[in-house]
């Protein structure tokens, strides 16, 4: 039989208690149990970055963390970032620069970009490129994403 674990965590500001299969990873829990489908599943082995989300204030791969490990944690998904206004400037810059096409990488890219901006990252293009190099985008060629992050940092400075 499927083995389960009881968890108690905060997701996008809401307290969640659930009994989950031990093997269930965090992103599947968020998507399938909580209906937070904004976090995407691209490879399920930690490489593509589509499932990048925020746990206890830092970016993590949602496919490389068990839901059970998130017990007691504070999780913020793209829906939470948006609803709480935590990523408004980046989202506006992504729109203005068309830093997304199909949108599948976008929630993970946004989480990575936000971590960079919040950590005081500079507008150095190479540094931005290095930082987002764990987020695969097949559509944009990355340049617009770099521009959007640059814009956000420059505007915050002025």
């Amino acid at each position: 039989m499927t083995r389960t674990v009881a968890i108690d965590l905060t997701v996008n500001g809401e307290r969640i208690t659930a009994s989950v299969p031990s093997r269930l990873n965090l992103v599947d829990f968020l998507r399938n149990d909580l209906g937070l489908t904004g976090s995407h599943v691209g490879c399920e082995h930690g490489v593509c970055g589509a499932c990048t989300l925020t746990v206890d204030g830092v970016a993590v791969r949602g496919c490389l963390m068990l839901a059970a490990q998130a017990n007691g944690c504070t999780v913020t998904t793209v829906e939470g970032l948006s609803d709480q206004g935590l990523s408004t400037a980046l989202q506006a810059a992504f729109t203005k620069r068309n830093a997304l096409q199909c949108g599948f990488c976008t929630p993970g890219m946004l989480a990575s970009a936000l971590a960079y901006v919040n950590a005081g990252g500079t507008d150095d293009r190479d540094a931005i490129r290095a930082h987002i190099s764990g987020n695969y985008c097949r559509c944009t060629g990355y340049q617009a994403v770099v521009e959007a992050i640059c814009d956000t940092i420059k505007e915050a400075r002025t």
Partner: protein, 282 residues
């Protein structure tokens, strides 16, 4: 690398256990007859489970073990708890000051989101031949502190890596901490890693520590395990011209795979070593 038999991207079922103490964790491991696996950061174990190449009966999450946390300096040695995450290493002024090689290597380890979860103990225990930290442990002459049912023991990093993902850690042992000698003012360090893409596992990498005792040189990404070449180190001690030492590389049984043949890896290892030496700290 993996034979496709069916849909294989959801982990098989297991028990998730989260002991509160080191003793409890070891007892759980010991009672599982080797079927249970410790879960540190999970950044390598989770993919292996999703691929169903690892199927432990239980995962023993080490997250709550206070004994595996903390960074402390004791004279000429710095002790880093096994559950210290890469991001914590990078944020530690003490680590950066005591171990300049960490500052050189950490940016090459995968990406931010992985470094936020991955742990030093996890990567040391896994022994991925292409990973950076095991090679750093060799180059620095680190000591690995293990706890098991019969108590603790300390083993030299030189004795730890036995083969392809094979280490001296017994299945019922846990890495508690890694002890590194603190860099002295006359120590010099070099690090160079060759990857086609930022954050990838190395095609070849070299780590150099030079102290009054001479060179310690470790390679990663080149063979079935991270390794040192004493003869090459000796050659560098007697003649600083790296070209005269490179022939010792042929003692390595280089890996050949789809990314590079064994011959290419040997060549890249030579470049990595040369550039590591060129880029030594001043």
């Amino acid at each position: 690398m993996f034979s496709v038999m069916g849909g294989t991207m959801k982990a098989p079922d297991f028990d998730y256990l989260r002991p509160a103490t080191l003793d409890a964790a070891i007892a759980l491991l010991a009672s599982s007859d080797g079927d249970a696996m410790p879960l540190a950061g999970g950044q390598s174990l989770m993919p292996m489970m999703n691929f169903r190449v690892a199927s432990p009966s239980a995962l023993i999450d080490l997250a709550d073990l206070a004994e595996l946390r903390g960074i402390s300096r004791d004279g000429s040695s710095i002790r880093i708890g096994a559950m210290t995450r890469y991001a914590e290493l990078a944020a530690s002024a003490e680590v950066m000051a005591a171990l300049p090689l960490f500052g050189m290597a950490l940016p090459h380890i995968a990406h931010d989101a992985i470094r936020n979860r991955g742990t030093l103990g996890g990567t040391i225990a896994l022994g991925d031949p292409a990973a950076e930290m095991p090679a750093l442990a060799l180059a620095l002459g680190a000591k690995i502190e293990l706890a098991g049912p019969d108590g603790t023991r300390v083993i030299d990093a030189d004795e730890f890596y036995l083969g392809y993902y094979e280490t001296a850690r017994a299945p019922d042992e846990l890495i508690v901490a890694i002890h590194y000698p603190v860099a002295l003012s006359d120590h010099r360090f070099g690090f160079h890693e060759l990857t086609q893409r930022h954050g990838d596992y190395a095609l070849a990498g070299a780590v150099v520590a030079r102290t009054a005792q001479g060179h310690r040189v470790a390679f990663f990404g080149v063979a079935d395990r991270p390794l040192r070449l004493p003869a090459l180190e000796q050659a560098l001690n007697t003649n600083p011209d790296v070209q005269s030492a490179l022939h010792h590389l042929s003692a390595i049984a280089f890996t050949g795979d789809v990314k590079a043949s064994a011959a290419t890896r040997q060549r890249l290892a030579a470049v990595a070593l040369t550039r590591a030496l060129q880029g030594m700290t001043q």
